[in-house]
Symmetry: C2
DNA sequence: CCCGCCATTGGGATCGATTGCAGAACCGGA
DNA sequence: TCCGGTTCTGCAATCGATCCCAATGGCGGG
C-alpha cells in the first residue's frame, strides 16, 4: 500500500540495491545516480520501513530510557535532554518508568532486549546488574545514570552528591553558622548516603561534632519534609541554618517554614538540593545546589553515542565500567546570611515582618 | 546468535508455523502442542524478534506519545499513565517532545509514520491536523489530547476548562467575594480562552461587570505569575480573591503573595488551577481545580486501545472526530474564606499573625 | 591493440516471524 | 469398510530493506 524501495528504484530506473545505497549514503555510488534516486524518493514520498531495515541490518535506531518516575525534576530534565539528542542523531527514544520497583525493572530490561534497542540509559534501582550486563553482552550499548550498580560492566555517570553537600555545608559554616540542620534521603540510597557524607565531612573539617538532633533522614516525599521541619524547629530552636538535601521533601520544607513564621534568611539560612526553576522565584530566591541534571543527561548521551559508533565500526573494544562524575554547583541566591547575634531573643523579634512591601 | 523461532520449533519437534501459532495464542492449535512449544521456548529463553514480527504482521506494538514538554505537571502525569497502560497491553511507548514548535511536531509525525507506530496520542500544537489525518488514513490509531485540532478526524479528549474555572469563580462568589482577580494563560491557547470564559461567565451570572484591572493574562511562566501578582496587588488593593488559572504562573504567584505579606485566606482567598501534589502541603493547603490529568490520560488510552482493537479485527468503522470531556473538580482545602468586612482597615490588621503556633 | 583495474551497478539470498493453503490424521456414522 | 467432516500441522511465500558477490563498462598503460 505504501511506497517501498522497489517503487523508488523502478521510478529512478535502477535496481533496489542501487536505490538502497543511494539513500543510505554509501560511498560506492555515482553522485548523479544518487541525485536521481533521491529525487525519485522525494517525488513519491518514500518513507523507509524501519522494521524491515532493522530486521536486516540489526540496528533498530531505538534507544531506551529507564527512569524511576517523571515527577522528580532531575528525571524529567534528563528525559528532555535525551530525547532531544536522540532525535538529532536519528534515534527514537522509548521511555520506561520503573517506580523504583526492581521487578518492573527486570521486565523492562527483557522487553528492551526483544525490541532490540541499540542503546539504553538506565537510571536503575541498582539491583539488576545481571540483566543489564546480559544486554551489554548481546551488543546493546548501556550507560548507568545517577544510580550506579557495582557489578555493572557499563560506564556510569554520577552526580557529585558528596561534593555538592560538602560545598553547601561549608558555605553555611563560613557564614558563621554552627547549628546546621540536615534533611536528607534514606541511607539505603546512593544520594542519601553521599550527601550526608558531604555534610558530615564539612562539619568535621570545621571541628564540629555531629549532632543527631539536627538530623532528619527519610523518604523522598513532601510530607516527610513538612514533618521533619516541624520536628527540627521544635527540637532545636537555636538552629540557624538548614540544608534540605532531599529533593521531594523540599516541597514540604518550604511551606512548613512559612507556617512556623520563620523568616528566611533572617531567622534561618536555607539551602535546597537540586535546582528547580521556580526556586528562583521564591521569596527570597533560594540558594541551591544544582546537581547538573542537564549535564548528566548530556554526558550519558555522549557515552552512549560513543558506544553506538564503535558498534557500527565493529570494533568492540575493552568495555569498562568506568565511572564519571558531573560536578555540583552552588548557586547563591538570597536565602543565606550570617547568623544573627546568639544572644538575640528570638520570640521578641519574630512577630513583625520587616514591612518592605 | 540469539534464539529464533526456528530453534524453538526444532526443540519442540514441530514446524515453525506451528511454533508461531502456539506462541501467538492462535485457536487452531492443540493444547498439548502449545504446552510443548511453550516449554521449549521457556527452556531456550526464546525472545521474539519484534522487527521481524512487525515487518510481516504490520503491527509494531509501538505507540507514540507527543507532548509539549515534561515540566508541566499534567503532562508528566499523563506520560506516566500512558506508559503504564501501554506496558500492560504489551505496547511500548515512544515519547516525543515538541517544545510547542509546529515544525518539530511535523517532523515527529513523519518519523512516527516511518516507525509504523500502531497508535499515537497527540498533545499537539493544533497546527498539524493534515499530518495527523494522514497517519489516521494510513491505519494508525490517533487520539488528540488536551489541545484539539478542529480539522482532525481523530477523537479528541479535552479538559473541562471552562467548567472548572466557572466552578472555582462561583465558589468564590458564593463565599461573598466581589473583587476577584484572574491570572490566566494567553488567549491564543485553548485553555487560556476557555478558563477565562468560565471566569467571565460566572461573574456575569452574578450580575457583576468584568473589570479589566483585575485581569492578567500572559505566558506560561513563573516570572509572569510573579509580576502579574505584584501588578494586581498594586492596582486593586481591595481585591479579596484570586484565581490563578495559569499553571506555570502559580510558581510565581505563591512567592509573590508571601513577599507582599498577604495572608491567605485572611487577606486574600486563593484558588490555583491544576492539582500539583505539594500544593496540599502549602500553608495553608491550597484549594485547587483539578483538571483530571490522570483521567485524561486514561480516557485517551481507552480510546486508543479501542481503535487498536478494531484495526486488528479489520473492521474499520466510521471514524469520527468525536470530542470527549473530562470533568474538572474543585478540591476545597484551606485557602478560601469569606471576605472580611469591607470597612476593615487593612494596614492595621496585617502585622500580626493570628498566633497559632 | 589488448589486458587488467577501478568504479558502479544488478542479482539474489537473507534477516525472523506470520499466514494462506493444502494435506494429514482422526472421528463417527452409514 | 468407506466417506465426509473436523481439527491440527507443515510447506512455502511473503513483508521491505540490506549486502555479499558477480558482472559490466570505461579507461589507461604496456
Amino acid at each position: 500500500m505504501s511506497v517501498t524501495l522497489k517503487d523508488v528504484a523502478a521510478a529512478a530506473g535502477v535496481s533496489r540495491s542501487t536505490a538502497s545505497r543511494a539513500l543510505s549514503g554509501s560511498s560506492l555510488i555515482a553522485a548523479e545516480t544518487r541525485a536521481l534516486v533521491e529525487e525519485a524518493a522525494r517525488r513519491l514520498g518514500y518513507r523507509p520501513n524501519r522494521a524491515a531495515s532493522s530486521l536486516r541490518s540489526r540496528q533498530s535506531h531505538l534507544i531506551g530510557l529507564v527512569v524511576g518516575n517523571l515527577v522528580n525534576a532531575s528525571f524529567h530534565t534528563i528525559a528532555e535532554v535525551v530525547q532531544r539528542r536522540a532525535a538529532a542523531e536519528d534515534y527514537q527514544m522509548m521511555l520506561y518508568i520503573t517506580d523504583a520497583d526492581p521487578r518492573r525493572e527486570e521486565t523492562i530490561l527483557k522487553t528492551l532486549g526483544e525490541h532490540g534497542v541499540d542503546g539504553l540509559i538506565l537510571i536503575g534501582t541498582g539491583s539488576n546488574a545481571a540483566a543489564s550486563n546480559a544486554l551489554l553482552a548481546s551488543g546493546t550499548a548501556v550507560v548507568n545514570l545517577i544510580r550506579g550498580a557495582t557489578e555493572s560492566a557499563a560506564p556510569t555517570v554520577l552526580a557529585a552528591d558528596r561534593d555538592g553537600a560538602h560545598e553547601a555545608t561549608r558555605h553555611l559554616l563560613e557564614l558563621g553558622h554552627r547549628r546546621i540542620g540536615y534533611i536528607g534521603g534514606p541511607s539505603d540510597t546512593n544520594s542519601g548516603r553521599e550527601r550526608f557524607a558531604g555534610y558530615e565531612q564539612a562539619l568535621r573539617e570545621h571541628g564540629l561534632p555531629i549532632d543527631e538532633r539536627l538530623i532528619e533522614r527519610g523518604p523522598f516525599e513532601p510530607a516527610f519534609g513538612s514533618s521533619a521541619t516541624d520536628r527540627l524547629l521544635r527540637r532545636v530552636p537555636e538552629m540557624t541554618a538548614l540544608l534540605a538535601a532531599n529533593h521531594e521533601a523540599v516541597f514540604g520544607v518550604l511551606p512548613a517554614l512559612a507556617a512556623a513564621g520563620v523568616r528566611v534568611p533572617d531567622d534561618l539560612s536555607l539551602i535546597c538540593y537540586e535546582d528547580i526553576s521556580w526556586l528562583r522565584w521564591w521569596h527570597p530566591p533560594v540558594t541551591v545546589v544544582d546537581n547538573g541534571a542537564r549535564e548528566l543527561g548530556e554526558l550519558a548521551m555522549d557515552l552512549l553515542l560513543q558506544q553506538l559508533e564503535r558498534d557500527r565500526g565493529k570494533v568492540p573494544p575493552a568495555r569498562n565500567g568506568r565511572t564519571y562524575r558531573v560536578g555540583a554547583q552552588l548557586i547563591q541566591r538570597g536565602s543565606c546570611a550570617p547568623p544573627r547575634d546568639q544572644g538575640d531573643d528570638l520570640s521578641a523579634s519574630r512577630p513583625g515582618r520587616d514591612g518592605t512591601r
